[in-house]
């Protein structure tokens, strides 16, 4: 993700020099190219070349008798695979289940903790704490919380006389368990963005609303939320990317199981590539996943910024 963002300023710097290059072909082009070459080399090596290779892999099949071009056959096989359909559905549910609650929680935290004061600063640090724990470590911690019978959750449920559950071992619960962990982990991170967004709202807008006699709910509904719209678009995209690119906890807690219940797209791709040696299908799944992600990102950002730009 970062390299895409990095490349934007790089490209905008390059543009004027290209225009100048039309007038003075050699000298004008050499210096910017030389200056850009370190990042260009790394981008080519680690971004563009893999993209080309994924596209190549996606249209070829490696069999025991050699490699051949198969066109879109890998994509056809991919969409016919019930496990892929399941992974797609799981990931959609997971994205919905993580993005919406973590944004709502992040907004609630941010609204409650906006402003100065020692207690607020302390609470902000407390809510931010899960962000600083690596996802793998967080997953390892939750393994002990979720242990059926002897884990922390079941232990306390038993004290209340309630039956526990096999949180990670029950196909109906496993995805929700993973979702809860993710919301816990990410809400504090999104809170930071929303806090920044809140501080960018001009005081005049709030004061004007107060003078007009708007209540707290009206101020939230008509002043704060509209002003936060670009922030939400941005955080929404980040959250969406996280829902697809972070599967560390799936590796630690469930390995996609039980019975495919927590198989997310990235884990599916990993299984196809690393366990089944099916580079073609893994590449096809990668192309589909990235295509979906790019489309969703474009839509969210356009919706978030469109009305702002029009105003």
């Amino acid at each position: 993700m970062t390299h895409v963002l990095d490349s934007i300023p790089a490209a905008s710097v390059a543009e004027p020099s290209v225009a100048r290059a039309a007038r003075r072909p050699r000298a004008g082009l050499l210096l910017p190219l030389a200056l850009l070459s370190p990042s260009l080399v790394f981008l080519a090596l680690f971004t563009y070349w893999p993209v080309v290779e994924v596209l190549w892999d996606a249209t070829h099949a490696v069999t025991r008798r050699g490699t051949r071009f198969v066109g879109l056959a890998n994509f056809a096989a991919l969409f016919a695979d019930p496990t892929f359909q399941r992974a797609l559905l799981n990931n959609a549910l997971y994205a919905l289940g993580t993005v919406v609650p973590s944004l709502i929680l992040a907004l609630a935290f941010a609204l409650a903790l906006n402003g100065a004061g020692r207690v607020r600063a302390l609470m902000r640090a407390v809510f931010f704490l899960p962000v600083m724990i690596p996802l793998v470590a967080a997953a390892a911690l939750f393994l002990f919380l979720f242990l059926p019978g002897i884990g922390l959750i079941d232990h306390h449920l038993a004290r209340l006389g309630l039956p526990g559950a096999n949180w990670l071992g029950d196909p109906d619960l496993a995805l929700s368990a993973i979702t809860v962990l993710t919301v816990w982990k990410n809400a504090g991170y999104y809170m930071l963005f929303i806090l920044a967004g809140l501080q960018a709202i001009p005081d005049e807008a709030r004061e004007a609303a107060l003078l007009d006699g708007a209540g707290p709910w009206q101020r939230l509904r008509f002043v704060t939320l509209p002003a936060l719209r670009p922030t939400f678009a941005f955080v929404g995209v980040i959250a969406l990317l996280n829902a697809v690119t972070q599967v560390d906890h799936v590796f630690v807690l469930t390995k996609g199981g039980p019975s495919d219940a927590t198989k997310l797209l990235l884990f599916y791709i990993y299984e196809q590539a690393a366990e089944r040696y099916d580079a073609g299908r893994a590449a096809a799944a990668t192309v589909v996943t990235l295509g979906l992600l790019a489309a969703l990102t474009a839509v969210s950002l356009a919706r978030g910024q469109g009305p702002e730009a029009a105003r």
């Binding site: 025991r64 019978g149 071992g169 199981g257």
Partner: protein, 442 residues
């Protein structure tokens, strides 16, 4: 994905090569080792390798911890692809078939011949039950390092309290079923103590199901050909239905997927009275349990039979002659009777080298810990471990269905049909290239 990986690995290897000046004459080698069960195996391994390096000044071995058995397979394959294979790997014994089909590990017959031994004489040091997973197409691909079988563990206090005799653990499925019902405790809707628990997570579940299938007279897979599994068969249907009944009918075994640590944890906390897990956890249980426990053979329905488990030392293809020779020295040292016996006492795995049991320290140990002897005795009933082309996904095909059955999502019969179909599809490329490659078809 893979290519990116390859590039990064190359860069790392190149950097490492530049940064680390070689020691005068010592050959640097790496040993990849997994830690598949509970306990302090990683620490024990570091101690063992330090001892090896001290006694072999011309070799510098570095132990590299590579996670579970499945992870070790992946990391070994990644290292081979990156052009930097480790000189020796402690590899799950049932991956050797797949690795030899893909020519990713090298036979060791020439190294054995160089030492003036025949392969038969060399492999004769080890228990015969271990050979089918190590000798493939009459070539030696692996040297058994630590091995296990599934074992029934019982909480002796619970047995006494429930009026059962802890000196007579269940021997048949019927006795197991009855004992589990007697031992289970409930408070209203809530089960406070399970009669029996068996792990059903990936890797463990397939192995336990294989043990039940074999105890039911089944074979599970074709020991002589890597393209066939017998999932949709009466023996397996009986085994899976038995497990399903323990969960859904008798309600003496918790529903859903159970991970290995959850099973041992529940047993140690007194929340499960019996469990069937690996002998490899024996030392951990012995050191941790705060109550008297006993172990016994896996109960049978048709015959007494269990699969072996554990790992063998293998050498990837593409090693330089020096590294290969140094790796071979390490392999022989690790599998000698003394080290084999020491590792066995440290972990609970039994020592594959028969001579380990003739050593005085081993005799004294078995005298003190008769449970360790039961694990060795069960070897008389041991059969090879499920190994096919693409073992991991073929195994996951049945494990996904097993988990669905234990969660009440599927009936055993349809689950087995689905697993068979999935496994056949996975092995299809190999089958088409071997058993179905017929004259005149080209």
């Amino acid at each position: 994905m893979i290519s990116w990986w390859k590039g990064a690995a190359f860069a790392l290897v190149a950097a490492a090569g530049l940064a680390a000046p070689r020691a005068a004459h010592a050959t640097d080698i790496e040993l990849f080792f997994p830690v598949p069960v509970d306990g302090a195996l990683a620490r024990n391994m570091s101690g063992l390798i330090k001892e090896f390096n001290d006694s072999h000044p011309d070799i510098k071995a570095t132990p590299v911890f590579t996670g579970s058995y499945d992870d070790t397979l992946l990391k070994t394959r990644a290292a081979i692809k990156a052009g930097k294979p480790p000189a020796a790997v402690i590899m799950s014994a049932n991956f050797l078939t797949d690795l030899s089909i893909e020519r990713e590990i090298a036979p060791m017959d020439d190294l054995i011949a160089k030492d003036g031994k025949t392969p038969d004489a060399f492999m004769g040091q080890f228990f015969p039950a271990l050979l089918p997973n190590a000798v493939i197409d009459r070539q030696v691909y692996g040297v058994p390092f630590h091995n296990s079988t599934p074992l029934l563990y019982i909480n002796a206090d619970h047995f006494k309290e429930a009026g059962l005799d802890p000196d007579k653990p269940p021997r048949t499925w019927a006795e197991l079923y009855d004992a589990a019902r007697t031992l289970t405790k409930r408070e209203g809707d809530r089960t406070t103590r399970w009669g029996l628990m068996m792990p059903s997570n990936y890797d463990y579940g397939g192995w336990i199901l294989e043990a039940l299938t074999m105890s039911n007279g089944g074979r599970y897979y074709n020991e002589d050909y890597g393209g066939e599994v017998y999932y949709d068969t009466p023996t397996m249907l009986g085994a899976l239905t038995f497990w399903s009944d323990l969960v859904h009918k008798a309600k003496v075994h918790p529903a859903g997927e159970q991970k290995g640590p959850a099973v041992t944890g529940a047993f140690l906390a007194g929340q499960a009275s019996m469990m069937i897990i690996s002998t490899g956890s024996l030392t951990f249980i012995r050191d941790t349990a705060k109550f008297p426990f006993k172990v016994a053979f896996v109960p049978m329905n048709v015959r007494q039979a269990v699969p072996i488990g554990g790992a063998s030392l293998v050498q990837p293809t593409g090693l330089s002659p020096e590294k290969r020779a140094a790796g071979w020295t390490l392999i022989q040292w690790l599998t000698s009777p003394e080290k084999s016996g020491w590792w066995s006492r440290a972990t609970g795995y039994f020592a594959p080298n028969k001579a380990a049991y003739d050593l005085p320290e081993m005799k004294a140990f078995l005298e003190k810990n008769p449970d360790a002897k039961i694990a060795v005795d069960q070897l008389a009933n041991a059969k090879p471990w499920f190994a096919t082309y693409r073992t991991v996904p073929v195994r996951k095909a049945i494990e996904d269905e097993l988990q669905a059955v234990l969660s009440g999502k599927r009936q055993p019969k349809e689950a087995l049909a689905a697993a068979q179909k999935a496994a056949d599809a996975l092995m299809r490329p190999y089958v088409e290239d071997t058993a179905l490659r017929l004259p005149g078809a080209e």
